[in-house]
Symmetry: C2
C-alpha cells in the first residue's frame, strides 16, 4: 500500500500517488480482517490492521463485532496506532481501552499530542485515570491533569499545548535558527505567535511570511494583528468554530485569565467540532441524543426511551382533545377518516420552518436583528400554504364524501393549522434560545404538540359547530 512507502527517491520516474483512493475504508478491507479473525490467523489480522492509517484502523475496529474487535485489538497489542484511539467512537474506545490495559494505554497516550491525549484521558473514570497517571512521567502527568480540568466543549479542552511562541524582540533570523534547533516543537505547524514579555500574544505570523522575509527584519514587523483572534480557555467550542468559520482562520491562540498564551487551536480540531455540532443539531431534531451505531441494544433502548415517552404524552394530549368531540365523531365517521390529515400537514409545515430556524440560530444567521422580519415572513408563507392546501384538500374531501360542507370545514382547519404551525415553527425555537434551552432538543416536541392539538381542535371543533 502506498502509505507504507518510504519517502520517494529523487527521480522523475518516481510513481506518483494515484488520486481517488482511500477516501474511506472499503467493506472489503473489513471482510478481509473478519476472515483472518475467523481463521484465527493472528499475524494476518495484525498485518492487515498495520497497513491502515489511524483513522481507518479506527473505522475498521468500529465496523467489527464485539468478539472480532477483541481479537483484532489483541492481535495489534502494543502496535495499535496511538492516534487510532482519538478517532474511535467513545463507546468503542471504552471497549478498546479495556482490552489494551493500563500499560499499553499509558504508552499510547504518551505518544499523542496533548490535545489528543487529554481527549482520551478525560473520558476515563477516576480509578482508570490514576492507574494511567502512575505510569507516566511527571511533566506529562501535569499536562493531562490540567487538560482534563477544562470542561468538555471548551477551548481549553480543544487546544494543543505545544505552541511556537516567539519573543517580540527577536529577528526573523533568530526565529528561523530557533525553529531549526528547538527539540520540542510540534511535528508540523503553520503559524507562529509573537508574545510580549508577559507572554501575552501580540500577533501571529504565517510561516509563509517568515520564509519570505529577510533574516535581519524584526519579527514584530511582519506580524498579523488583524487575523489573530485569541480565545480564552473557557470559550465554548461552538464559538471557536464560528470564529474560524467567519474569519477563515487556520489557527487561534488560547489565553488564560491573565491573557497569557497557553495553547493553540488548529483548524483540523475545528473540523471535528463542526462535525460534532452539526451532528448534535441533526440528531437532537431527530429525537436521539448521540450516535448510537456502536452502542448495544440495552444502552440504545435506554437512550431513546425518554424521547418516546415525551412523545407518548403529547400523543395522549392530542387524543384527549379528540375525546372532547366524541359526539361529532360518532355522528359523522368521515371526520375520523379525515382528521389525521390536518394534523399531519401542520406537523410537516411546522417542521420545515423549525428546521430553518434551528439551523439559522446555530449559524447565527437568525438573530434579534432580523427575528421580527422572519416571523412575519413565515406567517405569510404559512397562510399562503394554508390557502393552497385548503383548496386542494377541501376539493378532495368534498368529492370523496360528497359533502361540500366537509370540504369547507377541512379547508378552514387547514388554514388555521398551517398558520399555527408556521408561527410555532419560528417562535418556539426563538423562545427556547432566549431561555438558554437548546432549541434543537426541545422544539419539535412543543411543535408537534401545537400542530396536533390545534389541528384536531380546529377540524373537529368546526365540524361540531357546523355539522351537528
Amino acid at each position: 500500500m502506498s502509505q507504507q512507502e518510504p519517502p520517494a527517491p529523487a527521480s522523475a520516474d518516481t510513481p506518483v500517488p494515484e488520486a481517488e483512493e482511500g477516501y474511506a475504508l472499503s467493506p472489503e478491507e473489513v471482510y478481509a480482517v473478519e476472515e483472518a479473525v475467523e481463521a484465527q490467523d493472528r499475524d494476518a489480522v495484525r498485518r492487515k490492521l498495520l497497513e491502515l492509517y489511524p483513522a481507518d484502523q479506527a473505522a475498521l475496529l468500529e465496523a467489527l463485532s464485539h468478539a472480532d474487535r477483541a481479537a483484532a485489538v489483541q492481535a495489534l497489542g502494543p502496535d495499535i496506532h496511538p492516534e487510532t484511539l482519538t478517532h474511535l467512537d467513545s463507546a468503542v474506545r471504552e471497549e478498546v481501552i479495556e482490552l489494551l490495559g493500563p500499560d499499553l494505554l499509558a504508552r499510547a497516550l504518551s505518544q499523542l499530542d496533548s490535545d489528543d491525549a487529554v481527549l482520551v484521558f478525560a473520558d476515563l473514570d477516576d480509578e482508570a485515570q490514576s492507574r494511567i497517571l502512575a505510569r507516566l512521567p511527571q511533566a506529562y502527568r501535569r499536562l493531562l491533569v490540567e487538560g482534563a480540568t477544562f470542561e468538555e466543549g471548551t477551548a481549553g479542552r480543544l487546544m494543543q499545548r505545544e505552541v511556537v511562541a516567539i519573543p517580540s524582540a527577536w529577528t526573523v533570523g533568530e526565529t528561523i535558527d530557533f525553529m531549526r534547533s528547538a527539540e520540542n516543537l510540534p511535528d508540523d505547524f503553520y503559524d507562529l505567535y509573537v508574545v510580549n514579555p508577559k507572554h501575552r500574544p501580540m500577533g501571529m505570523v504565517p510561516l509563509s511570511r517568515v520564509l519570505r522575509a529577510r533574516r535581519p527584519q524584526k519579527i514584530v514587523e511582519i506580524i498579523d494583528v488583524e487575523r489573530m483572534k485569541p480565545v480564552t480557555v473557557t470559550t465554548d467550542q461552538a464559538d471557536v468554530a464560528n470564529l474560524f468559520r467567519r474569519y477563515g482562520l487556520v489557527s487561534a491562540p488560547v489565553v488564560d485569565d491573565a491573557g497569557r498564551l497557553v495553547g493553540v487551536i488548529t483548524v483540523d480540531d475545528v473540523v471535528d467540532v463542526i462535525d460534532e455540532e452539526a451532528e448534535d443539531d441533526l440528531l437532537k431534531l431527530g429525537g436521539v441524543t448521540e450516535t448510537d451505531l456502536y452502542r448495544d441494544v440495552l444502552e440504545t433502548t435506554r437512550a431513546r426511551l425518554p424521547w418516546l415517552a415525551v412523545n407518548l404524552l403529547t400523543a395522549i394530549l392530542a387524543s384527549v382533545v379528540i375525546g372532547f368531540f366524541e359526539d361529532a365523531l360518532a355522528a359523522v365517521v368521515a371526520l375520523a377518516v379525515l382528521m389525521p390529515i390536518v394534523a399531519s400537514m401542520g406537523g410537516n409545515a411546522g417542521t420545515q420552518t423549525l428546521t430553518i430556524a434551528v439551523r439559522g440560530l446555530a449559524m447565527k444567521d437568525l438573530t434579534a436583528a432580523n427575528a421580527k422580519r422572519i416571523v412575519g415572513k413565515e406567517l405569510i408563507v404559512g397562510l399562503v400554504n394554508g390557502l393552497v392546501f385548503a383548496v386542494v384538500m377541501g376539493g378532495i374531501a368534498w368529492l370523496w364524501f360528497e359533502r361540500p360542507e366537509i370540504g369547507l370545514i377541512i379547508g378552514a382547519a387547514m388554514v388555521i393549522n398551517l398558520v399555527a404551525a408556521a408561527l410555532s415553527g419560528i417562535v418556539i425555537p426563538l423562545t427556547l434560545e432566549r431561555l438558554k434551552v437548546d432549541p434543537a432538543v426541545a422544539s419539535s416536541v412543543f411543535l408537534t404538540t401545537v400542530t396536533d392539538v390545534v389541528g384536531f381542535f380546529a377540524f373537529l371543533g368546526l365540524a361540531t359547530l357546523f355539522l351537528l
Copy 2:
C-alpha cells in the same frame, strides 16, 4: 476597532488583542447601520460597514431589509470588500450583484482568489457572465471560464489555482529563494507541492519542514508522500471533506485526468463544504431544500410546497386506510380517539432510527460491512421499545375506556408498528443509498407512509377482528 490598527509597534507595552470579542456580528451593529440608513447619513453607513471584516460585512448585509440593503450597498459602492461577496447567501448575493453593476463586480472579482471568484462568477446567468468577462484581462478570463466549467460540488470548483509547485530537482535553498522572489504566490500558504517533470505531484512539504531543513538539502528528501492525498477535478466535494476529516489534512493537491497538478484545496474551503453537507442533511430531513431565511415569501412558498404536497398524498393514503374501517370507527368511537397514538409513536421511533442511519451513511460509519448487524440491532430495539410502550399505553387505554380488550389491541398494534418503524428507519435509507438516491431527501416520506399505514391498519384491523 482593533482590526483597523496597523501592525503593533515593537514594545512590551503594546496592547494585546482581547479574547472573546467579535465571534459574530452583534445585533447592535445591525441597528447602528439601520439607524444611519434611516437618517440618510450615507457617510455613517459607509464608515460603519468599512469597520467590519468581510464575513461580518456580509452578515450585516444579510440582516438588513431589502430597502436598507440597497442603501447600504450604494453607500459602500466600490469600497465593498470583494470577499464579502463570497460570504453572502446566494439570494442576497444576487441582489447585491445587481446593485453593484458589472463594472464594480468585475473589479471585485479580479481581486479575489480564483476559487472565490469562480464561486461568485459561476452563479451568474450567461448574459451577466459575458458582461463581466468583457471587463477582465485575458488571463483572468480564462481562469474564470475554466473554473466555471467544473460542476458545482466537485474538487475542480472548490480548488484554488494558485499553488506553489516546486520542481523535484531543487534544493531547500533554491525553494526558499524562489518563494522570496516570486511575485504571483498566494498570500499565505502552508504546504508546498513537489512535482516531477510531467508536473505530477510527488509529495508535499509542510512549510515548517522547509524552515527546519538545511539549504543544501534536496527538496525531495523532505517530502511527505504518505500525507499527500491527491484528488481529481471531478471528485465529489463530500469525498474531499471525508478525506480531510479522516487524515487531518491541511491541504490536498488537485490533479487533472493526466495526473498533472492543477490546483489545491485548503482546509478552510473544506470547513465550508462540511457546513454545507451537514446543512444539506439537516434541511432535507426537515423537508426543506435550502436555507431560505433570505428568500422572499413567494420563492419560499414555492420551494416548500412540493414537500407538503407529497406529505398530503401520504396523509390521504393513511386516510384511505382508515376509511377501510369505517364500520369499526362507527361502532366504537374510542378507536378514533386512540388511533393517532400508534401512528405517532411509530413515526417518532422510526425517525430516531432514520436519523442515526442517515448520519451514519453520510459519515461512512454505516456501510455494507456492518449494515446487517445494525439492522438486527434496530429490530431488537424496536421490539423492546414496542413492548415497553405496549404495556404503558395498553394500561392507559384500559383505564381510560374501562375496556381491557382495547388496551390489548392498542398494545399489540404498538409492538407491530414500532418493529415496522425500526425496520423501515434503517432499511429505507440503506436501500435509497444503494439506489444512489440521497437518503436524506426521500427517507422520511417513505418512513411516515409506512408508520402511518401500518399503525392505522394494525390498530383498526385488530379492532375489527376482535371487537366487532
